[in-house]
Symmetry: C2
Subunit: 241 residues, 2 copies
DNA sequence: TCAAAAGTGTTCCGAATACACCCATGC
DNA sequence: GCATGGGTGTATTCGGAACACTTTTGA
């Protein structure tokens, strides 16, 4: 490697080659929403180390691959979905986090609408399963730590940005939205007040369609108006609750 | 390296050795507060590449060094201060972010009380300077991107957590606190309302001392009550504004 | 006595809360 | 008709915004 003797300004006397010994990986915390509960997608490892344990999906980053591309690839390989909501949340770099060598991993979290998710025929997908985030199995590596940090980030994000919409189908009713937020935040809303608040934000586009095949009055459907949200955001509007 | 043929479950056929080619560094965005303005500490590079440009301080991580230890070391080497507020905010991993080789860098941001900061006699400190965050010089590498992300993170953090206290001396007056938050957030508060709000949060410990040597009525001094804040946080209290 | 900042009190308004109530549909 | 969720209206409360005012110090 044609690296100078010091990267920034360092006191190290070691040849610089000795510094290019890191492995780099990405791990994805994939959230979904089913039956009123927040789920996370895990796979069962088929190889050592930690063979048989459940784990986040992830992979080593290639030498010429951008971090976010690596994360997108991992996600696409498992779900077949492209352009999914994907956000980096933390880099985990403890010396001993991997039993065999020095691997730094970057955590991404992702929200998928479970209806879109069709496990595809890969060695991964066969062993993939959704777990309730309050009822997790033992995890490989430091994936438990990563997952907890991911959940924390999700909750922070949900409270201040209209993140949750990614978990719903594109068209949804106000009650569905309310139930989702109740699951995400862990507390109840008053129906009337929740509606008033979200409607007045002006980030939902009311549709002329209604829910069908329900044994009660059919509810109006809405879409998240992303364009409108971006516009409001620029004006200083900030999503709360 | 005794690495198995696949890290997680991968389709790669390459020998695994080819994946351990990453350099890893940390870069610190160090914020300070002087004369009512938010500053950031930069150093002038003495070596190629980007010799002469201003840059964040940072360094390569050693093979057996934890990420956060690396960041702390960098900070200590420049300022002589240990146990400073330091928080990871993002990993920057573009393939081409470094002109000479593949180096992934992890950004940390830090808040220091400028009174504590005494540049120490090192090759770094000689060329260190505080810059107003609205008046930045040209920066080396992708440090401008990193810095902007750091500023963004700071503003998010400040709004939802009692972060700003690190920028003040341990004992401060309410007006000093107000002016700091005005600088951080970019807008004014009403004196009376600001006081009421912050006092009612119960996270400040009023002292029996007062500011001295001022040509007007001396103000009461306060301390941030970290213990109390942690306790309140556990009960679900959330700091806002 | 004046300037400058410390510190307090009060009114007003809008938003959040807590309910109560009516509507539409399938069975 | 009744169960179920859809959808609306309103009185009350609480907290924030705006602003005025008094106090204490040094010069």
């Amino acid at each position: 490697m044609k690296f100078p003797n010091s990267y920034y300004i360092s006191d190290y006397k070691l040849p610089i080659n000795d510094y290019f010994v890191f492995g780099l990986s990405v791990d994805c915390v994939i959230f979904g929403y089913q039956e009123g509960e927040i789920k996370v997608l895990l796979v069962q490892r088929g190889l050592e180390p930690f063979k048989g344990n459940w784990a986040l999906i992830g992979d080593l980053v290639e030498p010429k691959q951008n971090l976010c591309d690596a994360a997108n690839n991992v996600l696409e390989k498992l779900t077949g979905l492209k352009n999914i909501y994907l956000k980096q949340f933390f880099a985990f770099g403890s010396v001993d986090r991997h039993p065999l060598d020095r691997v730094v991993t970057v955590g991404y979290f992702s929200l998928v609408n479970s209806m879109d998710y069709k496990p595809i025929a890969s060695s991964w997908a066969k062993s993939a399963r959704w777990f309730n985030i309050n009822d997790l199995p033992e995890l490989a590596f430091d994936h438990h730590t990563i997952l907890l940090k991911g959940i924390e980030t999700l909750k922070d994000e949900v409270r201040h940005k209209p993140t949750g919409f990614e978990l719903l189908p594109p068209k949804f009713t106000l009650l569905e939205l309310q139930l989702l937020y109740e699951a995400l935040l862990g507390y109840k809303f008053d129906k009337s007040n929740f509606r008033k608040k979200i409607i007045e934000m002006n980030i939902l586009k009311p549709l002329k369609e209604a829910k069908e095949n329900v044994s009660h009055r059919p509810a109006q459907l809405f879409e998240f108006d992303e364009k409108r949200y971006r516009a409001l955001e620029k004006e200083g509007f900030s999503f709360e609750l």
